[in-house]
């Protein structure tokens, strides 16, 4: 034990210089990505349910006139994976709040808002990996890959992931000391949001009140845009509505999440 202060002492005992929000956010995000980098297979955990639906539910869908059922179903499953993964992510923060490593981050010079935004931005990476995986699985079947549309669709999902991830962290922050609350709320909300977005079944024939609720769901617009983009169809209004849906979730999520983190 001789190297404790082997590095030059004057710099080490100096105060940490002020850093920018983006530098802090980058540090938080790269830290968050390390476990994924070490164990890339961990992205599969959040994919179990979507893959079950893809394997066991998609074959039940009736063939539609204007294309294969798979072509219609896959964009929804991609959005579902993204919703599942991002909404689980608060559980990691819960674990770190219990173990004490979140407290350590709170005492570091990193800004409160970067602690939230960096974590939320990290959600983009597993989302990209999961989308790529789903497309690799379905492309050999009756699914036509339109890469340009997929890339724009994925950019939209990135916004959505950031928003849902932020909300999940906000939920974890308010559930401090009562972790059951996190899972109860997450599980209670996730299926209504999925069903109302028309991910599993189309809502065309749904009763008026159900369609009204569906219209209020930002994910509805994201999923509609994904379906067109993944099929290589470009309608400016649909794409714009999809981005608006993603942006609304992102803005609301970050607002709620940063407020929560500042109070921590």
């Amino acid at each position: 034990m001789t190297t404790l202060t082997a590095s030059p002492a004057p710099e080490l005992t100096a105060d940490v210089p002020a850093s920018s929000f983006w530098a802090d956010t980058w540090n938080v995000m790269t830290r968050e990505l390390k476990p994924l980098w070490r164990e890339p297979a961990s992205v599969l955990f959040a994919m179990v349910q979507p893959l079950v639906f893809l394997g066991l539910f998609a074959p039940l869908l009736p063939e539609v006139s204007e294309g294969s059922a798979l072509q219609w179903f896959v964009p929804g499953i991609v959005a579902m994976t993204c919703l599942m993964g991002a909404s689980f992510t608060g559980a990691n923060l819960s674990d770190e709040m219990i173990s004490g490593s979140h407290e350590r981050m709170l005492v570091s010079p990193l800004s409160r808002s970067s602690l939230l935004v960096g974590r939320a931005c990290k959600e983009i990476v597993p989302m990209l990996m999961q989308t790529a995986l789903i497309l690799v699985v379905v492309t050999p079947f009756s699914f036509d890959l339109h890469l340009g549309g997929v890339l724009v669709g994925v950019a939209m999902l990135a916004l959505f992931s950031i928003g849902v991830g932020s909300l999940s962290f906000a939920l974890a922050l308010v559930s401090e000391g009562q972790e059951w609350l996190f899972w109860t709320v997450q599980q209670t909300l996730i299926f209504p949001v999925l069903l109302l977005a028309g991910i599993l079944l189309p809502l065309e024939g749904a009763p008026g009140w159900l369609r009204f609720l569906s219209d209020l769901n930002p994910l509805t617009y994201v999923v509609e845009a994904q379906r067109e983009l993944f099929a290589g169809i470009w309608h400016a209004d649909v794409v714009a509505a999809g981005f608006a849906g993603g942006a609304v979730v992102a803005a609301f999520g970050i607002w709620v999440g940063v407020r929560g983190m500042r109070r921590a």
Partner: protein, 339 residues
């Protein structure tokens, strides 16, 4: 050593107070704490569980807002300029600083990056600390798979990635075996000697406060009940000399003579005489000669320097062990829960 060592106060608290509401009960965890700690001091907060030590530390590290009163650390107010405080301090909490999902070395590097080190410097520093804290075998494993003692060493390494002006350690030795506890003490003392950092640690181990700190702040029920060097705290109480005699009569006669020692408190129990007096460990030789001259021959002699436990008992009427046990049986929250 070329480091400039600024002197003067680095931690100042005035009337620092923190109350909690726990299950509709009002808990006054810290009550009007006035403390001044100078740059370069090595201070231990000693007290039983729930005394308010950790709550105080959490206020000084900006984790908890004071209910009233003020605290400044490294010249910045903890409420008005928390980020400036965070840039000047390091903190090892009671929990695990490294996430259980991460690898230890990755967390050390992330911690370095968060504290302004370049990627290369952070990597180098992590390697130094891994070697220093004997973590080579486990640094590249997931933290969840480490033993309690290994995790604690990693926590301490995390706290030392940057060497701050003020380092706070909240019960650093909890969960360490005696070997690692001794290593930790050596590490803290070496760090203090080499960097001139101010180090504040909490402990409920008397031996630790005694072995480590130059200054011991004894806290009980949210108040400072003593604040001095360990040796002065003990000197004030005096040494204890236990003398045995062949008969109770001899013991009574010896007690009369022993009472002539300056500031002595003497009590007799059967054939035993207990003398408490400052510096008695030196005076005992003369006392024995005096007793011998009076034909009083002691059959047994036992001299003990006071421990901090004796000091705590003297200050509060309770032994520290009792106080810890009392605390764990009452419904009062532990500091961690209350926070």
């Amino acid at each position: 050593m070329t480091t400039q060592r600024p002197t003067g106060p680095v931690i100042v608290t005035r009337g620092l107070t923190r109350h909690f509401k726990v299950n509709k009960t009002h808990v006054e965890a810290v009550r009007g704490l006035d403390l001044t700690i100078d740059q370069g001091e090595l201070v231990a907060f000693l007290g039983p569980n729930g005394a308010g030590k950790s709550t105080t530390l959490r206020m000084l590290t900006t984790l908890l807002a004071p209910t009233s009163g003020t605290a400044s650390v490294a010249g910045h107010d903890v409420s008005d300029a928390p980020r400036a405080v965070r840039r000047a301090i390091g903190y090892v909490g009671q929990g695990n600083g490294a996430s259980h999902q991460q690898r230890g070395r990755d967390e050390l590097i992330s911690q370095g990056r968060a504290h302004g080190l370049s990627r290369a410097a952070a990597r180098e520093r992590a390697a130094e600390l891994v070697a220093d804290l004997d973590l080579e075998a486990v640094a590249d494993r997931k933290v969840a798979s480490l033993s309690g003692g290994q995790r604690r060493r990693l926590d301490i390494a995390m706290g030392l990635v940057h060497l701050p002006r003020v380092l706070f350690l909240d019960e650093p030795s909890t969960g360490l075996d005696p070997q690692n506890r001794a290593n930790l003490q050596a590490l803290v003392q070496r760090l203090h000697g080499e960097t001139g950092s101010t180090i504040v640690l909490t402990t409920h181990y008397l031996e630790e406060a005694d072995a480590l700190a130059e200054r011991v702040v004894v806290i009980d029920h949210g108040r400072v009940i003593a604040d001095d060097s360990a040796s002065r705290l003990k000197t004030r109480l005096g040494d204890r000399v236990l003398l045995g005699f062949a008969s109770a009569t001899d013991a009574a006669r010896a007690a009369e003579r022993a009472a002539r020692l300056p500031d002595a408190t003497v009590s007799v129990t059967g054939e035993q005489v207990e003398v408490r007096a400052p510096g008695a460990h030196q005076a005992v030789a003369g006392l024995l000669a005096d007793l011998h001259a009076a034909r009083l021959t002691a059959t047994g002699v036992e001299v003990s320097r006071p421990t901090l436990d004796d000091v705590f008992l003297d200050l509060t009427g309770r032994s520290l062990r009792e106080a810890n046990e009392q605390q764990s049986t009452t419904d009062a929250p532990t500091e961690g829960e209350a926070a």
